[in-house]
């Protein structure tokens, strides 16, 4: 806000003139508003407490330490029906975060690819993408979630599972993958991967410095791949393959062992990432169009190839326009994940609703939802703001 001309000073403060003094009036309004908000909040809280007491209902967060007594099918932490409501909440929160992170990554990739394709000179490609975007972002996301779920349910049954090399299986109860079993020596392989990642980052930095200094480029991608994948693979073979896999096995009812991704998670993930991806696609298109055509022509004049022009010239400038609206798409995706309850994906709302029903602590459970989504949204925003600042135009 710009500086206002200071009100006339001197002569002391005259109470009768308070109303005509701009600053005093401002203070009075602020006080009134604060009082009003505080009064409303106090009224709501007192009214609720009184009503809860009159209805004979208990309140407070002590119920979080009671035994939950129900099971959860997808848990990133140890959880059993003998765990507490509080632990169930944490498991649900992690499930929400899992699908939100997976969704954000996929939506971003889908959005960027389709956004660029929509600007393609190829009429067919840009038309097809255009129709897909309009269709996807105009159909309610709940319908899309149920649509993908029904597709998952229409996959082959367990006994007719689609098998990929007898190690991975796909059926209407999800995807079953072999899970790694670490044996002696596998720690060395993992350490090599870590060292490879660090090495790749260092090489990347060195290459950038060298390019800035001398203009010579360096094949960072290939060298990085060699460091991260190549060397660990050699070490892995040299150590006699110290990694075993637990392969899913057909039992009476289900596939047992390995790692299971439920159809609910897949359906929710596909629905959220394509829905939000369609919005991001439009944001990306807008961002690219905002970069003046002269930039492309200048890059062409310098002899840069089309792909390189897009990567090095257009996208970095477009990102400044793209990032802020993208943040709200990420927030939307996270919040839309609460629609999971319709298909039985056990996210925080699904589990919280069960807790609400069993314990009867409606207000407390709803307040926990709100606090959770608020914190998650603020963290996302904080990260995106940091990133936005990082890529902002450096003015010299």
């Amino acid at each position: 806000m710009s500086e206002r001309p200071a009100p006339p000073r001197g002569g002391g403060f005259d109470i009768s003139r308070a109303w005509t003094d701009e600053r005093a009036r401002g203070v009075i309004f602020q006080i009134l508003i604060v009082l009003g908000v505080a009064g409303l909040a106090a009224f709501i809280v007192i009214n609720t407490i009184t009503n809860l007491r009159e209805a004979g209902l208990s309140s407070g967060y002590g119920f979080l330490f009671d035994t939950a007594n129900f099971d959860i099918n997808q848990r990133l932490l140890d959880y059993a029906s003998t765990s507490t409501y509080g632990q169930a909440f944490v498991v649900g929160a992690l499930n929400t975060i899992l699908v939100a992170v997976m969704g954000i990554i996929a939506a971003t990739v889908i959005g960027f690819v389709t956004g660029v394709l929509r600007l393609s000179n190829n009429f067919l490609v840009s038309r097809i993408v255009g129709v897909w975007v309009e269709f996807t972002r105009n159909v309610p996301v709940l319908l899309q979630i149920i649509f993908w779920w029904l597709i998952m349910l229409a996959l082959p049954r367990v006994k007719d599972s689609i098998s990929i090399g007898d190690a991975a299986f796909l059926n209407n109860r999800g995807i079953f993958l072999p899970s790694p079993v670490f044996e002696d020596g596998s720690a060395i392989v993992l350490a090599m991967i870590l060292i490879g990642v660090i090495g790749a980052v260092l090489v990347g930095r060195w290459a950038r410095k060298r390019q800035e200094a001398t203009g010579r480029t360096f094949p960072v991608g290939w060298v990085g791949l060699g460091l991260i994948v190549g060397i660990p693979v050699i070490v892995y073979v040299a150590l006699g393959q110290p990694l075993d896999f637990d392969i899913p096995e057909k039992k009476r009812f289900n596939l047992k062992g390995g790692f299971n991704i439920t159809p609910e998670l897949i359906a929710l993930w596909l629905a959220l990432s394509t829905y939000t991806g369609a919005f991001i696609s439009e944001i990306v298109r807008g961002g690219i169009l905002s970069v003046s055509k002269g930039q492309t022509e200048a890059a062409g004049a310098l002899g840069l190839r089309r792909g390189l022009t897009m990567r090095k010239i257009i996208l970095p400038q477009a990102l400044r326009v793209i990032i802020p609206p993208m943040t709200s798409q990420y927030l939307n995706l996270t919040k839309n994940s609460s629609l999971a309850v319709a298909i039985g994906y056990q996210d925080i709302v699904s589990i919280g609703d069960t807790i609400l029903n069993q314990s009867g602590q409606a207000l407390e459970v709803i307040s926990l939802y709100m606090a959770f989504y608020l914190v998650l949204s603020l963290l996302t925003s904080a990260f995106m703001n940091w990133y936005n600042k990082r890529i902002a135009l450096v003015e010299r």
């Binding site: 909040a41 709501i44 809280v45 009214n47 609720t48 009503n51 009159e54 209805a55 004979g56 209902l57 208990s58 007594n69 129900f70 099971d71 959860i72 099918n73 029906s81 003998t82 349910l153 229409a154 049954r157 367990v158 209407n172 109860r173 039992k251 009476r252 009812f253 289900n254 047992k256 159809p263 309850v341 319709a342 298909i343 039985g344 056990q346 699904s350 609703d353 069960t354 609400l356 029903n357 069993q358 314990s359 009867g360 409606a362 207000l363 709803i366 307040s367 939802y369 709100m370 606090a371 608020l374």
Partner: protein, 343 residues
């Protein structure tokens, strides 16, 4: 003010707005009479218990109780606004005053009665949780279900019983919790799960909706006690009494041979049986004690008949559900259905 407090206050505000009016302690009876309709909470659709007939009217075993109560209180068995509730929404709806009585195959449990602030007025169906599965599975008992996927409706006691059953038997399973009966059934039919579990009566109801009911079997294990009955908000004893004695009137009517066909005739003049006379208002003043008129029980019974008539019409052996009376027979017939006397 900390974030948490603000979040809490906002949540509280939201919940209050959602609930509309704050539930009053005052006489529900007066509110119902003033409104002219009874707001009755029922299932979103469960064959036999709450479903729409060809004309689109709600009907069924649970609905019949609503009709009896509306007839007793308002003199019109159709003066009801039905509110369809899921397992999850039913309790907040009753607590907030959105409905006057909940008749939605709800299990009477300690915590619901004591902690949630409701009063269960009786049991209209003694049920227990069972499992249904395909006969092709080739198993005969639920204890052989190690490693199976099980579809359940969320927000029900079944979810808890299920966890207990598998824990006690030391076997594992994958729960697939789904919000409504219809979607849970769809998931079972698509073989997303091997078995579907709910109350035995619900299983019988669900089985009738399958394309080929004979391809499915209900396992013999009944893993829990599920006394289902209507409930009201705690704190209005008069209203709870009306709800309780409407149910008792239907049961007593069966015991004493009062039916939909003969109730008017019996109520026309005092007969030889003192309890019938007292119940139907030709002797004494039981209706007044309840805050109603003398004919209240006559109308309740005339609405859909006595307990046996309601049972047989909607869920009995000759109905599509084909449930036997079993535990739900009168105590005189080997069941445990027993109403306190009208005295």
């Amino acid at each position: 003010m900390s974030f948490k407090k603000i979040a809490g206050a906002v949540a509280v505000a939201g919940a209050l707005v959602a609930a509309g009016a704050v539930p009053g302690q005052a006489a529900t009876l007066d509110d119902v009479k003033a409104a002219g309709t009874l707001k009755c909470g029922i299932n979103t659709g469960l064959p036999g218990f709450a479903y729409t007939d060809d004309a689109g009217n709600w009907t069924g075993f649970d609905v019949a109780y609503c009709r009896a109560m509306a007839a007793a209180v308002l003199g019109d068995a159709n003066a009801i606004s039905f509110v369809n509730l899921t397992g999850k929404t039913r309790f907040p709806a009753l607590a907030s005053g959105e409905i006057d009585v909940l008749s939605r195959n709800t299990t009477w449990t300690y915590s619901r009665d004591v902690d949630l602030g409701f009063t269960f007025v009786g049991v209209n169906y003694y049920d227990g949780q069972g499992f249904i599965g395909r006969t092709a599975l080739g198993i005969s008992s639920a204890t052989e279900l190690d490693g199976a996927s099980v579809c359940i409706q969320t927000g029900t006691t079944t979810e808890l019983n299920l966890a207990d059953f598998f824990r006690v038997n030391g076997i594992t399973y994958e729960p697939v919790p789904i919000e409504t009966n219809a979607e849970a059934r769809a998931a079972y039919e698509a073989e997303r799960c091997d078995v579907y579990t709910t109350d035995a009566s619900g299983l019988a109801a669900t089985k009738t909706t399958f394309d080929d009911p004979s391809a499915h079997m209900v396992f013999p294990e009944i893993v829990s006690k599920e006394p289902l009955g209507p409930l009201v908000r705690q704190g209005d004893d008069q209203w709870a009494d009306i709800a309780r004695w409407t149910l008792n009137a239907l049961i007593t009517a069966e015991e004493l041979g009062v039916t939909q066909a003969n109730v008017e005739e019996m109520a026309a003049a005092a007969g030889d049986h003192p309890e019938i006379n007292r119940m139907l208002g030709t002797e004494g003043s039981l209706g007044e004690m309840l805050g109603l008129d003398a004919q209240w029980a006559v109308r309740a019974i005339a609405a859909e008949g006595n307990y046996a008539e309601i049972f047989d019409r909607y869920i009995g052996p000759d109905s599509p559900l084909g449930l036997g009376r079993g535990l739900n027979a009168l105590y005189t017939d080997g069941g445990i259905l027993y109403s306190p006397p009208f005295r």
